[in-house]
Structure formats: C-alpha cells, structure tokens
Symmetry: C2
Subunit: 202 residues, 2 copies
DNA sequence: ACTCCGACATGACAGATGTCATCGCGGGTC
DNA sequence: GACCCGCGATGACATCTGTCATGTCGGAGT
C-alpha cells in the first residue's frame, strides 16, 4: 500500500483528489495539508511514501516544500501538480529532486499511475511541459537581474525598487534595461510579463 | 434527480469533482466541458438543471458562458466556482444572473448543498467573498478607462496601446493617468495590478 | 434650453525611464 | 599575470510618461 501525502490549498480540489486516490486499491492518503508549512509538518509526522504537492500554496510554495522534504527525508518521493505549468518551474523542480511533474489538465488515471511510478523510483514529467521547457531554454538572466526584475514586478517606480534590493537607482535601471533587452521587451513591464510566462521569476 | 453540467478546463479537477457529485444520491453529472464553448454546446444539448462553471477557462470564460446561458435558457441555474475570487467578478456574476458563487477553498459538502440551493431557486455566495465585494465597492473607472487600462495590462508602451484601442497616444495617456489617480497608483502598471486584484479588469 | 459628464483630442512641461559609456572590485580560468 | 564576467556604481543624453490646461462633441437629466 502506497502512503500518500496530499497538499493543495483548495479544499474542494484536495478533497476530491483524495477521494479519487483512495478509490485505487494500492493507494491511501495518510495526510492532507492546505499550506506549505502544514505539508512539511505532516510529512515529518507521517513519513509518507509519496508527497503530491500543489505548486502554488500560501506560505511555502510546492517547490520550497519539495526541496526541504528532499533534504530532510530523501526517502519521500515528491511530485508536483499545478494549474499553470511554466517551463522554468519544471527546471527548478527537477533541480530540487522532484520526481513527477503534472499539469492539472491531465486525467485522473495518469495521476495514479505517476504516483506509482515515482514510488518505485521512476520519474515522470508531462510530455508537453517537457517540450515547452526544452523550447524555452534556460533563463538568460543573471541571478541578480532576476532578483531586481522580480522586485520590480509589481510596477513600482525605480526608486522604490532600488530601496527593496538595496541598490542605487541607477544600478537598478541598468539591470532592468539589460534584462528587458535579453527578453526582447520594450520596457521592464513587458519584461516582467514574459519572465513570468516563462517561469523565470516567481 | 438534479442534472448537473460541469465545466472546468482542468481535467483532473473536473473528473474528481464529477466523481464527488455523483456520490450524492440526488445529483448526477450529465455533461462535462473543458472550455467555454464546449460548456455552451453541452448546455444546449443537455439542458441541465444546474451548470457549475469554472471562472477561468480557455475561450469564453465562466462569466460569459453564464451570461449566454442565462439569456438562452433562463431555466438553467448557473453557479461559478473559482480559485481566485476577486470582488469584481462576484459583482459581474450576480449582474449576469449567476445564482451561486464559491471559491475552490470551500468544502465538498458545501458544493453539493449549494447545487441544491440554486436548483430550488435560491442563491448562495461565499460569505467571505461577499464581505470583500462590499468592502471593495464598485469600480471607480469609466468603461472606457477600464478598456484602456486592460489594453495596457501587458506593459506595452503607450503607442502600442493606442493602436490597440484606436485612440490617439495623448488620449491614452490621459485615460491611464486618470485611472491611476482613481486607483491611488503611482503609475499605470501599479494601477493594472490593483485593478486586477479587485477584479475590475479581467 | 441649460447643465453636467464622459469620450476624445492637442499641446506643453517636468520628471521618470531607457540607453550607453565608463569606472572599480572580486572571483574564476587559461 | 592576463583575461573575462558578474556585481555595483555614476553621469549624460534621449525618449517615454505623467500631469495639467484647454477644447470639441454628443447624450442624459433637470
């Protein structure tokens, strides 16, 4: 019997998913969590075989949870389920030791199968997402550029961004300028949009 | 037996939800749809008692589908289920004749109950969302301001926005300026962010 | 008829932003 | 040691934006 931890902030979805997994003879949901922190706590307590994590959750997101679980309990196989599958997320997930990555558009049978796959040590990523990730390539941004772009993501004026990242306004402008150029955007706001779409910034 | 139409682009969720609703003795899912257009077609074909619509779907979104269903088949009770419950969406939904509005964070039993409620002619909106909607109030933007702001939502420079809405660049700047002022934003990009948060633009 | 308001436009000006050249510092690499 | 590259900074310049004053036009109310 494969013991599954289920984390998703949407109660309705989580409940429905749990019911569905319980329907499988060889699966049992031993814990549910609505936030990243809950998921982590539940994982320590129950030591499940597989952790099914939603990407976007309040508090720690699925990727951060997966990272910590992977460090603390390497025996627990993590997999990510998400509505918005950005290429960058997949890369980060794999880097962090995630063994399964599925969009919520996949069918129920696939989910159960993937749970079994990762439990036996295998990996599975959605083919379409994988293709996108390959097509998108790696981020062209330096770490600092990504930081600054993210700090500018809410549309705040340069000065405020500069305060957030503790840089001079001029430096911020330079970073944003090069970032926008690398992303082929006309200004930083477009740059933010494309970087978001690619999953290069949160 | 209450006949339910279920529309959600996330296959996993839709399937799980369907199973869950089928578990109720007095409910049966007669059709499922992954897009707005499919939902509309299925609704015409099956004439269900209740249509459960996700807000964000490819093609027509839940609100547009609800509007058309309400016009074409007033006998079909529409309800919206969504992950991101913005205050503005709720207002628009009620204006369009939607009878139930729930975030996906609600529990499964609530969903079933609300399906029954709207079927008997009642209404149900999530109390928390209702409170937010009241607190948020109506959009301060004129229709045209909202249009222009939405056209500027992806961060495009003024000229491009002007092209999209067939206006002179100067006029666009004026609209964006007044919109930003009304929303208390430092620039149009912040204005876009707050308008999005409130559900005043898609 | 008169008034108000929203849609649309123009012109002008200040301040914010994008761009570029240039600099120093430190960590790798050949 | 020489070199490249990323990080951080400055200054100058051109352009883009935000703001305001001002005007026209048509529809809705009174």
């Amino acid at each position: 019997m494969i013991r599954v931890l289920l984390a998703d902030d949407e109660h309705l979805i989580r409940g429905a998913l749990a019911q569905m997994l319980e329907l499988e003879d060889d699966l049992t949901v031993v814990a549910q969590a609505a936030t990243g922190d809950e998921a982590l706590a539940a994982c320590r307590r129950e030591a499940p075989d597989v952790a099914v994590l939603d990407l976007q959750m309040p508090g720690l997101d699925g990727l951060e949870v997966a990272e910590r679980i992977h460090r603390e309990q390497p025996g627990v196989a993590c997999m990510i389920v998400t509505s918005h599958g950005r290429p960058g997320h997949l890369k980060r997930a794999l880097a962090v030791g995630v063994r399964g990555f599925l969009p919520k558009t996949t069918s129920a049978v696939t989910l159960a199968e993937v749970v079994r796959t990762v439990h036996t040590g295998g990996r599975h990523v959605d083919p379409e997402l994988a293709a996108e990730a390959i097509a998108a390539g790696d981020t062209p941004l330096t770490p600092r550029e990504a930081d600054v772009l993210e700090a500018a993501a809410d549309g705040a004026p340069v000065d405020r961004v500069a305060g957030r990242v503790h840089l001079s306004p001029g430096t911020v402008r330079n970073y944003l300028s090069t970032a926008a150029a690398k992303l082929g955007a006309a200004n930083r706001h477009e740059a933010v949009a494309t970087a978001r779409r690619m999953g290069w910034i949160s």
